[in-house]
Symmetry: C2
Subunit: 636 residues, 2 copies
């Protein structure tokens, strides 16, 4: 057995105590050999080591340089280039089979990207051609640098909407089209700069603060704004009745196909729907153009590739702040979408997407595109899903997409002359209505009321206040939720589950029973300045309530308070002061305070502040109960 | 023994497994009867009940109405009045002995309050008489409503400084003295309104966000600003040399007495020092006034009680926002000081101060005082300490203080005519230099580097930017600290301590050893949107590192990942999605994911989102290891 006499002594003491001091039958497995373990300090580290360790966890949680370890300089250079340009990594073993899949998927997303590009440009109050330009350069750039194999890059609805809303609040796209265009390119440049900086500074954690709950609310609010805006814009152009008939029909058609997107077999329908609608409606307008007047059409689109727009960037003047602000907001939103899309498909195919690297790729892509007449682009949710379902294997599908758009730009522009604006509106509305995810909102309500609140705040904030403020409020609610959990943490009274060394919540486990003369409490949160006052009052209230209960039931008097610190994952100086003061206050009432199982960092801080007395620390609640009750028995 | 055959079966299975699948000697106390306990859901509560419970924990953690339970209506009315006016409670059994103590302490604090009141008013750029007015009405108001017995109420240095700095940035007290005075009263009114609202809305938790670390930095920065300002102000009045000689001497004298304040026997010296200095210096100036010119003196002070100032409140016009902002900042600072003082002395004498009630008392006091020519007041640290040491027993000491100030206002004002301003500067500088608590700052550095950072930010923010911004930055740093802990939580690999059911960090407990085929991880934080991505990547990295380690050491292959959820005190929808996805990803690698001991709220949410599969939940790590390894053994 290897049990020393010392250990046996504890068993004896404890076995004796279990039957003498308690009226209640405390049947703790008395045959367990009870050794009292001491609580260790974590291994010593210097401040510098600790800082290094902490910083590397914060900024390099994925340990991106582990492949560079123990390599020759030459190999390191190759790996470095592959790190910056993943195409060098997978390009070397690219073959015809992969290419076939990529061509099919590339053509498919192109058929979606062209009408959507034109529509989303309109959403951002930009000329339709900018949407096509933005479907050409960015996918090419991304295919060189991006680490996702399934992301389809191009303009997306949210970023377009936000850019359109924020810029047109200050500058009218109708009265000052050139200034507006300049601001759009400048905002794109700053969006890229912001994204690339976040990636370079390894601050990827910033986008983690846009929770799913926030985004669900945000997208629903944004979708409603866009739909209303689009309908309002149409009212001046086509007759109300025409529009009101056309749109519900188109919407219901699209909505039906959208639903089918989830079933991979039918996804071709949804993938082909926008292009088909554009072709059919264009033909229709072309055929009836002599009979019906007043249908608003796209009109003349200039043939040719992206012109450079470096001269359009706007680095001084009164609207610079607006451009920077718009850039940051659209940048963070498009980044969130792009990273989420990349991660989703990476996890489906079981490969890793490095968030920070992806941010740099998207950021550099946007900075470069802002010089070639493109506006903000990122990985699109809907097109990436189509890309994935169409069998895309590598980023070559983005190159195929860019090639198709290239052909369109060079040769097919006149075909869009008769495309009616109403079909673009329908495409936009369909796309954005798909963003209203009421099922997700319902699930939030069911699972977590506070998440639902964040979602609702985001929704109404965007709808009734403004896009950046709405987002800000929603992030604020999410943060307050975290803080609230810390400010008012849960405290539990624990009891022993008979015949075990398990101590669990009395409220939750009906079989658990109180240990006479002990009050065992658990704190379910770090102890911080923000909750130390509350915790002190709450713990004292537990003690008081327990004493009243004992008096009412004529049980044996309370002698010892045990605090299970397992869930106290951090402590600060205010927290340590609180524990010290609590100890003193309990001592005044002749109560012993004992702490159980503090985690490493807490243990270390308590040690450094000289809090630790003797006999006030145990590794488990069971050992604390055993040792302390043994010490109460008069020695034989 | 009461052990069923079922339990014994687990023991047998497990005992067999311990020797067959592992090469390493895993000596877990095999004689322990191993029963597998199921994990319970918390008792069912409706959404409304849960909300009620949660809200009452947030807003009524101290259960202030428990005394009203099961009482007659008449008794409830009496209790309610006593709740609002604690003087009704202790007033009924007030006696001569208590009164004697209170008179002594009241006179003592008056001797301190009169010179400090005049000085602090000067700090707020207000006429000296306002300082005396503010030492008359507020103590009277507080003695009716306050629940602390030792707090001495009056103007305090920090609030005076902040008001002076914030108001004089926009309005010159020299050029527009009436407007400045109006704004000061208005700011006081709003400070009181803000304080009373916080108390009434039970938002006492707001002041918990001013951590001790923040305040240490803030006060040190403020002290330096004040000292510099005061010295600069003096330069124009007295000769540089005179002042430079006078101040260090006075400062050192005061500093010496301040030190002795901690020794109750000598505290009379420190308590009497300011008044003695004022008297001596006034006499000195009176005697030498014919010989020396150019000494700045207080001059004529009007006799009489506080005039009403309701007509001075300023509720519209361009400076209203400034008054409100100043009111909120000074309000929150003075509240923090007042509540902290009240709590400190209450804990020394073992009685409770209800934070929210105290806020209402201080708030109503400031609202009322703003109508009687007073500026912001609160419980002062230094004077309350003197009050406590002089033996104050009840709030009557504040009434005695007010009475003494009343006599001064009515009869003794001419005596201050020759009081030199330089002595007031000395009193101010002495008081504020005492605020620089470098020992506390050193302790912060020693115990918690991030707390020290918050302190430093607060210090430099106040010193070089502005008071409200500096405070804002410091609170921001404190909040970011909490968020950072949540964003990048600690994850541990656990091992078994031989011959026990204890599983602890392998890194910290050298005797702990890995259990073959298992990887036991612990997450030390709630799982939120802000860390779910990080945690997923980090946990997968642990798995990968473990697989590489196993491969290198030729150990038995990894089969099961156990996550100890004890310290995961909360989860949100993103967190649940993360756990689900992690489970799927591990299943693809043929690994089983098992969760151990989720806390009540986490369990409930996982249940509601239908996450819980069979055989994936255990109450303790030991039971999980035993049950799963038993299931791997071919059944006999």
């Amino acid at each position: 057995m290897g049990v020393t006499s010392d250990r046996v002594e504890y068993v004896c003491r404890y076995g004796g105590n279990g039957t003498t001091t308690s009226g209640v039958n405390v049947s703790i497995a008395a045959e367990v050999t009870m050794e009292i373990h001491s609580v260790c300090l974590p291994p010593k580290e210097s401040t510098f080591q600790k800082l290094k360790h902490r910083l590397s966890e914060i900024f390099f949680p994925d340990d991106p340089l582990y492949r560079f370890k123990d390599q020759t300089w030459c190999k390191k250079l190759v790996l470095g280039l592959q790190f910056l340009f993943p195409i060098l990594q997978w390009g070397s073993h690219y073959d015809l089979n992969l290419f076939k899949s990529d061509v099919v998927s590339g053509l498919t997303i192109a058929s979606l990207a062209i009408p959507q590009g034109i529509s989303y440009a309109q959403l951002a109050n930009l000329p339709p051609i900018i949407g096509l330009y933005s479907s050409f350069v960015p996918p090419l750039m991304y295919s060189l640098q991006g680490s996702s194999r399934h992301v389809a890059v191009g303009p997306v609805s949210i970023a377009s909407l936000v850019m359109g809303t924020m810029l047109s609040e200050k500058v009218s796209p109708v009265q000052h089209p050139t200034l507006y265009l300049k601001l759009a390119f400048t905002a794109t440049f700053f969006a890229g700069l912001f994204q690339a900086s976040l990636g370079f500074l390894r601050l990827g954690l910033v986008i983690d603060f846009l929770s799913k709950a926030t985004l669900v609310g945000f997208m629903a609010g944004a979708a409603i704004i866009v739909s209303l805006q689009q309908l309002k814009g149409l009212l001046g152009i086509v007759h109300f009745t025409t529009k009101m008939q056309l749109i519900p029909v188109l919407t219901s058609v699209f909505h039906h196909t959208k639903e089918s997107m989830k079933k991979p077999k039918l996804f071709w329908i949804s993938a082909a729907a926008p292009l088909t609608s554009v072709i059919l409606s264009t033909l229709l307008v072309f055929l009836i153009k002599s009979k019906v007047h007043g249908i608003s059409i796209i009109g003349h689109l200039q043939k040719g590739l992206n012109p450079t727009s470096t001269n359009m960037l706007y680095f001084n003047g009164q609207y610079l702040a607006l451009a920077i602000k718009t850039g940051i907001v659209t940048g963070i939103l498009s980044l969130t979408e792009g990273i989420a899309v990349g991660r989703t498909f990476a996890s489906l195919k079981n490969y890793q997407v490095d968030g920070n690297k992806e941010m740099m790729a998207i950021g550099l892509m946007n900075m470069a595109s802002s010089c070639t007449s493109c506006y903000v682009t990122t990985g699109s949710f809907s097109r990436s899903a189509v890309n994935y379902n169409a069998g895309a294997q590598t980023a070559v599908s983005n190159i195929v997409l860019a090639g198709t758009v290239l052909v369109t730009l060079l040769f097919l522009m006149p075909l869009f002359y008769y495309t009616p604006n109403v079909i673009l509106v329908a495409i936009i509305i369909t796309a954005v209505i798909g963003l209203i995810d009421y099922k997700a909102a319902y699930k939030l309500w069911k699972v977590d009321k506070l998440d639902f609140l964040a979602c609702i705040c985001s929704f109404f904030g965007v709808l009734f206040i403004s896009v950046p403020l709405g987002l800000g409020i929603a992030v604020g609610v999410s943060v307050v939720k975290i803080l609230l959990h810390v400010t008012r943490p849960n405290t539990l009274v624990l009891g022993n589950i008979p015949a075990t060394q398990i101590y669990q919540s009395l409220n939750r486990y009906k079989e658990a029973s109180r240990v006479p003369s002990f009050l065992i409490l658990a704190i379910e949160s770090p102890i911080y300045f923000a909750n130390s006052t509350y915790l002190q009052e709450r713990l004292l209230r537990w003690v008081q309530e327990e004493e009243e209960r004992i008096k009412a039931n004529h049980e044996s008097t309370l002698k010892c308070i045990i605090i299970d610190m397992t869930s106290v994952t951090a402590i600060d100086t205010s927290g340590i002061d609180m524990v010290c003061e609590l100890k003193k206050m309990l001592e005044k009432r002749s109560l012993v305070l004992v702490l159980v199982n503090p985690v490493g960092s807490v243990m270390e801080k308590m040690h450094r502040s000289n809090f630790l007395g003797t006999n006030s620390l145990f590794l488990t609640v069971g050992e604390a109960v055993a040792d302390i009750s043994a010490s109460w028995k008069p020695q034989p």
